[in-house]
Amino acid sequence: MNNQPLVDRRTMLKGAGVSLALPFMDSLTWAAGGNSTKPPVRLGFMYMPHGVIMDEFWPKTPESYLESPPSAIESLRPILDQCLMMKGISGVPTTPFSGAPHALELSTWLTATLPDADTRSRINIAISADQIMANYVGAHTLLPSLELATMPQTWKENQAGLHEAYYSHCSYRSPTQPVPAEIDPRNVLNRLFGKKDKAGRVTKANPLDRQMLDRVLGGARDLRRMLARTDQQKLDEYLDSVRTVERRIAAIESRQKEAALEKAGVRSTRRDSNDSPPIEVKIPEGDKRSEYMQVMCDLTVLAFQTDTTRVSTYIGSTPNGESYPELGFSDRHHSQTHHQNRKEMVRKVAAITKFNIDQFAYMVNKMASLREGDGTLLDNCIMMWGSGLEDGNKHSRENLPFIIAGKGGGSISTGRFLPDTKGNQGDLLTTLLSCAGVPLDRPIGIATKQITEIKA
């Protein structure tokens, strides 16, 4: 029960109530690999654990979806025509881990795969949908993907002998390599747009660092030859991650070159002149959860808007029973979800759910307000909000709650509630990657098909 999320953040956020000017942002350009006539599709995920109160989440009928949406999604009302809800998406069957609902809800969310039972005490699951996309489009942008979280991923709880990190990780670069998430908005900002030196100048990428890393990688390959096979796999993770850093430095260099050319009037890489200017991000001073989550959402919007990355995953809350003091009660999320239909507890779970969806709505409403090309930023995004359980009280996973926002560059038909979708979590992820233009050599996890009703 050693949950210590707020301390560091509080110190960090104090006195930080400044908006931050953005380097590289004199002009908006598409990263390499883009197509000047058509903006790229971006894919974002946002997670809440423990399921929802079904009656307050699912629209009653396809018709009522737009006319009288359920209370949980009230904050999405302005853009419901740009959202899609579908009921009937089932989760991964949990056998043989029926005793581990919370270790599975997050770890299976983007993998649609159960942890390997024989090696359950280690991490061995599958590459996650966000990382598949990052592998495909990540080379074009400064960051292949962005992983964010609200709480540190250090929860220690063992369910059914599964490795504890299954509790708090949803992104996996490979079956054995979980991707840690960033929880400090200032660090995220530095990663996205570079650090400033004392004089306030953005520190430039050092091309020598890239060449240095290249040689370090060469040396690491020598080292690899003298290692045992299991050690080699570990070293491969190192090689992979350093290669990403190398590419990132190269991407910064090329952005700097383009900016210089632009400045000299030699070449214009400016995008559509109608595009909205980059949004302003303000790191809040207090430690209100809503403000904190909104700055993380803003950073996602900005990263997408500036084409700094095209994939993002935000673990808005981890399955460790976080409490929401802002809502006026101190009960932990998990304890309330086992409500046994007691009114007061149901009310609290509904409030927590709405709170989480409100933050998601904050993000996608903002995206809908930003012009991009012929439409809005949201038009070119696929933003998925969801949970890995349907009903936290019973740990059911038959109708996982999902909301999709954005038209995915015209690949998704929105403004609908599909009350009887037939498919599973893997089918859904496979379909979304297909909408994002990612060719798959095999379906994701338990997928057997695409859910064509989603598509435009």
Partner: protein, 641 residues
């Protein structure tokens, strides 16, 4: 969680049984011995499984626990490969359930007799002998955030907080030995910071550390390359914690050349080379010093790996000069040298890292500083008091280690460490004054030891009141090493219980409602009494005679085995009798922490062997740590298979 509704409490644990078995079997000599004994035991275990376990399981279990496994337990496949790691958990669960008569369920027509149950448990106790001899693969391990910070501090004098930007991580058993692009980026950032702090700008006088690392700049340009190679050798020896190979030096000098080709000064080129060392896998990971040329699938760790593993375990820091010198001489493989070094490191104040990493995790006090307390109820929970509480736990832990006390002293002791704010919780503010922590002899038998210690009493409490349930579970799991299943999923926490039925009841009476409900009773009757035994301590560890509503505390209770107690002091002495359980629990936890993974299969045999030695030395704490360090699991690694 549905399946955990069933009662899984194991009162005398399977582990305890294993210990009993190992005591009657011949004990093994040092790490390489015992091959024959093991072979004999394995043959016996295989026979038992074939002739005894098979028929039992087929008769009573497989109708439900087959390839469409009820409760996730597949005994059909476990029977096919009984010794496999994957089967281990299934057997463990099977034993737990059979033992408490929870399985087979009452409605089935075939029910084993008590004798059969007892035999089944005994048979499964032999399971471990079927696991192949295997220390587990000590995969090259990345330094944790804390370890990397300490390493940069020890080697270059920078503040360990330089690594603060890295993601938080769990160390020990749940350690995620992986590296992501985010971490690699941050490692490069950190390297840049280190160099900025240590290397003076061009034209300015070099810093002391810079002089130590880079030496004098040769006066003749022609000597630059040769000098750079010298510098790279010493930098890499420190950072890689082993001598660099010639090929590694070639790479580093190549990076120096890269700097020169790009018109960097001699010093700046050394800086670039140094940066490369800092972000190299050899620095970030504990890597072997040389290729394994043996055909064996299991090899001993080389001296350098051993030095690192030891030093990071006890100090969370790289090997110091003495340890490095011993590694250079190839001395560390000698058990007596390794023992002496373990003792030396443990006696040094830096071994506080063992508390910060392991001790705090074991006692569950790691979150105390940020734990929420209701400020209206406990206005005295200031940061200073929280710090003092943690310090008390740390100093107490370290004193047990340093003085090589019996592990039962963790529970039953007559001293602690206090300063004035903390002494107020003990009612000893008259005799303990000032902010300095000091050792204090305790006259009150209810105090002394982790059961009567504010840090543990507070971390097992709610923001505004005590939790007998949490305290009871904590005692059973953390101290005695028993396994408590999580509560069934649909049970609300105490404060959510029907207000009407709970009205006018004391906390004890309300908690006892658990025991009137059969779904709750089986487990709660085991841990609630222990929690009630500690009710005289409030949620921040102050002594009280009456509870929150003014009713006298009733701290009398009985343990599951019938032993009765009336005060915390009596509970303490009853628990202190269970030395072997406590020692085994602590040994298993420390081993898992030291090797960074859960224990399974063959590990149990090794623990059995250690327990014999530890028992022979009266369960002394330093002995226990040293046995873990010199164990087969700690000193060997699997390289094939």
């Amino acid at each position: 969680m549905q399946s955990s509704r069933v009662l899984q409490i194991v009162l005398t644990t399977a582990a305890g049984l294993a210990l009993a078995l190992s005591l009657v079997s011949p004990c093994w000599a040092e790490t390489d011995g015992g091959g024959e004994d093991e072979a004999a035991l394995r043959a016996d275990a295989e026979k038992t499984f074939k002739e005894k376990v098979g028929p039992f399981v087929n008769k009573y279990c497989v109708r439900c626990h087959n390839t469409r496994p009820e409760g996730g337990i597949n005994l059909q496949s476990a029977l096919r490969s009984p010794g496999a790691t994957s089967s281990f958990l299934h057997w463990k669960k099977a034993v737990a359930n059979v033992k408490v008569h929870d399985m087979p369920p009452e409605h089935t027509d075939k029910i084993p007799t008590d004798d059969e149950r007892h035999q089944f448990i005994e048979w499964i106790g032999k399971l471990k002998y079927m696991a192949p001899r295997d220390p587990g693969s000590f995969v090259i391990r990345r330094l944790s955030k804390v370890e990397y910070g300490n390493t940069l501090h020890d080697l270059y004098g920078v503040d360990p907080s330089i690594t603060d930007g890295l993601p938080e991580e769990v160390i020990g058993e749940g350690y995620l030995n992986s590296i992501s692009p985010l971490q690699s980026e941050l490692f490069l950032d950190i390297a840049n910071k280190v160099i900025d702090q240590v290397v003076s700008p061009e034209g300015k006088a070099p810093t002391e550390v810079q002089k130590r690392l880079f030496g004098e700049t040769p006066s003749d340009n022609a000597d630059f390359r040769k000098a750079a190679r010298q510098v790279s050798r010493s930098l890499a020896r420190d950072a890689y914690r082993r001598p660099p190979t010639d090929a590694e030096l070639d790479v580093l000098v190549g990076i120096f050349d890269l700097g020169r080709e790009n018109r960097l000064s001699y010093t700046a080129s050394l800086g670039l080379m140094w940066k490369a060392i800092l972000v190299s896998p050899q620095s970030l990971f504990i890597t072997p010093a040389a290729e394994v040329d043996s055909k064996d699938s299991v090899v001993p760790l080389d001296d350098y790996q051993l030095a690192s593993r030891l030093s990071y375990l006890l100090w969370s820091a790289p090997p110091d000069a003495e340890l490095s010198a011993l590694a250079d001489k190839g001395e560390l493989q000698k058990p007596e040298v390794l023992r002496a070094q373990a003792a030396r490191l443990l006696m040094h104040d830096r071994s506080r890292a063992l508390f910060d990493g392991f001790g705090a995790q074991w006692l569950g006090v790691g979150g105390l500083e940020s734990q929420t307390f209701d400020p209206d109820v406990f206005p005295q929970m200031t940061p200073a008091l929280r710090t003092a509480m943690m310090e008390e736990a740390r100093l107490f832990f370290q004193s047990i280690v340093r003085e090589n006390q019996n592990v039962f002293r963790f529970v039953d002791s007559d001293y602690t460490f206090l300063n004035e704010p903390l002494a107020r919780l003990y009612g000893l503010e008259q005799s303990v004054q000032g902010p300095t922590m000091r050792r204090v002899k305790l006259e009150n038998p209810n105090r002394g030891g982790i059961l009567g210690m504010p840090a543990t009493l507070a971390t097992t409490s709610f923001p505004n009141r005590t939790s007998p349930v949490r305290r009871g579970v904590w005692v059973l799991e953390q101290i005695l090493g028993e396994r408590i299943p999580p509560p069934p999923p649909d049970i609300p926490e105490l404060e959510e219980q029907d207000q009407k039925s709970a009205e006018g009841l004391t906390l004890r009476q309300r908690t006892e409602l658990h025991q009137s409900d059969p779904t709750c009773a089986n487990c709660h009757k085991v841990f609630d009494p222990i929690g009630f035994g500690l009710e005289n301590f409030d949620a921040i560890g102050r002594w009280r005679e009456k509870d929150d509503v003014g009713v006298a505390i009733d701290s009398a209770g009985k343990l599951p085995n019938g032993e009765a107690f009336a005060t915390p002091a009596e509970l303490k002495s009853i628990l202190a009798e269970r030395k072997a359980d406590m020692a085994r629990n602590l040994t298993e936890r420390l081993m898992a922490y030291a090797i960074g993974r859960q224990l399974e299969g063959y590990d149990e045999i090794v623990i059995d062997q250690l327990m014999v030695k530890i028992a022979n030395d009266s369960f002394r704490m330093r002995t226990m740590i040293t046995e873990v360090i010199t164990s087969y699991l700690f000193t060997h690694r699997k390289v094939r298979g």
